[in-house]
Each structure stands twice: as structure tokens, then as C-alpha cells.
């Protein structure tokens, strides 16, 4: 049987192979073929600093999401070493309870290259799982940096996970993660400092500019003990209902499509820029001049951009 047919029937090896093809960019037509089958899954992002317990939380919450015969796809992202290009993907270690469940599919992903690589491929792979018929798609992010915000752009519900060791609320406000949170979880809630952090976060949220009607819930969990998980699952479902009832889901998803298009435009321009448009020899000459302080980097940039827009093909 054709790969695509097997894929649409939910055949796991076929799903795995489609993901590989999309990830490696070996079959550009494939995404077009599966795209009409997307739009049915609900995307949940789990993000937070390394060691916060994101994988353990996924392991704990998935059984709740599986209730009523639902299917859950999981993408677990870990970083690629910028030095070797290799990656150690260890999120499965903490998801053992799910490994053999018929209705669960887990895929580990390395961040790979830099030029928008991670975020972009992760979003496409989320679409693959959507098309494959999963009701929920969970994306667990690396836990560092800008990428988190990026992932939040595809998720309907973004859960930000903190631990008492994450530091005080000011740290969290600096990191910019509050802006993306729909639900905030303080995991390892049995450790000292958990209640203090929750209180601080409540104050921090009060300072937020309230433009939406959704009050961000702050929940306490102990993922490995399964504490607070029921509440977290019901809060996720409640957020889903809220978005659907208020009609926000449509607005949000359209916004996300706009962001996605913008992002793809940027990516494409970047690739072209690096591959074709910049004349490396000329650039080197200009860099030499800039090194001698004869011209500024800004001047070089203007020259390149001017040339870029005179080019017919982009």
C-alpha cells in the first residue's frame, strides 16, 4: 500500500516514516498532501526550564487525555550539539508508561540547524500527527530560550512548568515565559519554596496588562507522584472549552497561520540570502574594509539589501 494511505489509516511505521521525510526535507510534496487532513487535533505545548519535569508531566497527564478513547501524539524536543551536530534524546526515559500504549505515538526530535530549523520542523511534524488522526498533540520543548515562545505560537494551550528551584518570580518575568502561558504549573510542589513561588506568580500575573478574559490558573503538581495531575488535565480541557465557546480558537488559529507565513517568508529569504544573493567574494572585501574602520557594518547591510531587492527572483 502507498505510504500516504497507510499513514492516513494511522499505521505507526508509516507515520514514523512520514515524519522522517518531513524532518529531512526529502519530500516537499508530502506536506501539501497531508495538510487537508489537518485542523482536527488540539495542540498542547509543555515548556519550562531543563529539569522542571516536563517529560514526567507528559507521562502523567497523557493517560488522562486518553480517556474516552482519544489518541495522543507526543513530540519531545531535545537540543542538538552545535559542535558535533549530534544529539542525545532522552525524553523517552521518563515516558515509559506510555511506550506500549496503542493510542500513543512518541517522537523525539533534535533541534538540528539554527536557521529557524527547530521551530519550523517541529510545527510541521505537529501537523503530521494532526493529519495522522491524533486528538491531542503534545509538544514538549527543549527548555531554553526563544524557541519556547516560538512553539507557543502553534499551541492552542501552552503550559509553562516551573519548579521551586527556578528562582523567584522576577526570574520568570525576565525570561518572558509568562507571556506565552495559558496555564502555569509549579511542579515538584512538595519541595520547599513551592508555595512561596505560587504566591509570587499570582502577584506577577496581577501586574499583567489584562487584555484577555482568560485568568491564568496557577497549579501545583508533583508529577512523579501523580499529584495535581487530574486538576491539570481538567484545566487544559477547560481552557479548550473556553477557546471554543468564546470563538477565540478561530481567531487564535488564524493569527497563528499569519505568524507561520511570516516565519516561512523570513526563513526562505534567509536561505536565499545565504545561498545565492550575497556575493561571498564581495562580502569578504567589504568586511576587510570594515575591519580597517573605513565602512560600517550598517553600510554593508544597506548595500546588500539594496542589491537584493533589485534581483528579480527571491
Amino acid at each position: 500500500m502507498e505510504l500516504l494511505q497507510r499513514f492516513l489509516k494511522g499505521d505507526k511505521p508509516a507515520i514514523a516514516r512520514v515524519i522522517t521525510k518531513i524532518e529531512n526535507g526529502t519530500d516537499p510534496k508530502l506536506l501539501e498532501e497531508i495538510f487537508p487532513h489537518t485542523g482536527n487535533a488540539y495542540f498542547i505545548g509543555i515548556t519550562g526550564p531543563p529539569g522542571a519535569g516536563k517529560s514526567s508531566l507528559v507521562n502523567a497527564i497523557v493517560p488522562k487525555l486518553l480517556e474516552n478513547n482519544k489518541k495522543v501524539g507526543i513530540i519531545a524536543v531535545d537540543p542538538t550539539s552545535p559542535f558535533s551536530g549530534g544529539a542525545l534524546l532522552g525524553d523517552r526515559i521518563r515516558m515509559n508508561d506510555l511506550a506500549l500504549n496503542e493510542n500513543v505515538f512518541i517522537r523525539s526530535m533534535a533541534t538540528r540547524g539554527s536557521l529557524g530549523g527547530l521551530a519550523s520542523k517541529t510545527k510541521d511534524i505537529a501537523l503530521v500527527l494532526d493529519a495522522a488522526g491524533f486528538d491531542y498533540v503534545l509538544i514538549e520543548t527543549v527548555g531554553v530560550g526563544q524557541i519556547e515562545l516560538d512553539i507557543a505560537q502553534v499551541c492552542d494551550t501552552t503550559v509553562v512548568v516551573l519548579v521551586p528551584e527556578s528562582g523567584d518570580a522576577i526570574q520568570a518575568m525576565k525570561a518572558g515565559i509568562l507571556e506565552v502561558a495559558d496555564i502555569l504549573v509549579v511542579n515538584k510542589g512538595d519541595r520547599s519554596g513551592a508555595d512561596r513561588l505560587i504566591l509570587e506568580m499570582k502577584f506577577a500575573f496581577e501586574l499583567r496588562d489584562e487584555k484577555i478574559n482568560w485568568q491564568i490558573p496557577i497549579l501545583k503538581t508533583v508529577a512523579i507522584e501523580n499529584q495535581g495531575i487530574e486538576k491539570l488535565a481538567s484545566t487544559v480541557k477547560f481552557h479548550k472549552e473556553y477557546l471554543e465557546r468564546s470563538g477565540e480558537i478561530e481567531i487564535e488559529r488564524k493569527n497563528k497561520l499569519v505568524l507561520r507565513v511570516n516565519e516561512l517568508i523570513e526563513e526562505k529569504i534567509k536561505t536565499h540570502l545565504h545561498n545565492y544573493i550575497i556575493d561571498q567574494k564581495q562580502l569578504k572585501k567589504m568586511i576587510d574594509k570594515a575591519y580597517e574602520r573605513k565602512i560600517t557594518p550598517h553600510y554593508i547591510t544597506d548595500e546588500i539589501v539594496k542589491k537584493m531587492f533589485l534581483k528579480k527572483e527571491v
Binding site: 515524519i19 524532518e23 529531512n24 542538538t80 549530534g86 534524546l89 523517552r92 511506550a99 517522537r107
Partner: protein, 130 residues
């Protein structure tokens, strides 16, 4: 193109000695592979299912418990049942010479024994995947 070698390193069965598996996993990562490490005490079924979902090129099993003559054939059999025979199986551990011969005959591609330099393992994997 971004084709990367993907390998699953598994510790099947009850043996709790994962130092070797971790050393190998780190060495393969440093060689530029994407290494999926599944942790200790894995069922053969979980390893095969993970290998399929992760679409790995190769499974590397670390077995120091003496159960190699049970576990390797089981993994090979499960791969066959699941139509995933394209996934290459290699292994490492304390495995006697005469057993190695039998395992290779069954379809295990290569067994590395203690003292094998990590470079050799990396080079071997590159040579069979490329």
C-alpha cells in the same frame, strides 16, 4: 539535506549496568548521530516499538546480564513481526565468543565486546549506514 543517522540505545532486561550504554550514547552523539536513549529495564516490546516510532536506522543493545541469547532473538523476531526488519541490530556487552557466532547467524549484525574503542563503533556504524 539534513539526513542524520538515528540510533536507539537500549538496555533490555533486568541488568542495571548502564555505564557502558551511556558512554556509547555520548560517543555516538559526539560523532554527530541522533541517539535515542530509552533508559534501564526495557521490555523488548518497548524497544522495538520505540525504534519504529523514532524511525531509527539501527538499534544498539547493551546486555551484561547473560540474557543475550534470549533477548537478541526476541528483538529480531519482534522486528520481523512488525515489518521492521530494515532496522539493523547490533549489540555490546559481556558475550562469549561462541554465543557471538550464534547471534551473528541469527541476524545480529555485529557484537562489540568490552574494550572496543568507541571510534571503532562509530566508524562501523557509518560504514554500514552510508
Amino acid at each position: 539535506m539534513n539526513k542524520k543517522i538515528r540510533i536507539l540505545i537500549g538496555k533490555p532486561g533486568l541488568d542495571g549496568h548502564d555505564r557502558g550504554a551511556k558512554v556509547i550514547a555520548a560517543a555516538l552523539r559526539d560523532a554527530g548521530f541522533e541517539v535515542i536513549y530509552t533508559g534501564l529495564h526495557q521490555l523488548s516490546e518497548s524497544i522495538v516499538e520505540a525504534a519504529i516510532q523514532e524511525d531509527v536506522d539501527i538499534i544498539g543493545l547493551s546486555i551484561l546480564s547473560g540474557a543475550h541469547m534470549t533477548i537478541f532473538p526476541k528483538i529480531l523476531e519482534l522486528l520481523k513481526q512488525k515489518n521492521a526488519e530494515h532496522i539493523i541490530v547490533i549489540g555490546g556487552g559481556i558475550i562469549p565468543e561462541e554465543d557471538i557466532k550464534k547471534l551473528l547467524k541469527m541476524g545480529v549484525k555485529r557484537i562489540f565486546t568490552p574494550g572496543a574503542p568507541t571510534n571503532d563503533i562509530v566508524d562501523y556504524i557509518k560504514s554500514i549506514i552510508r
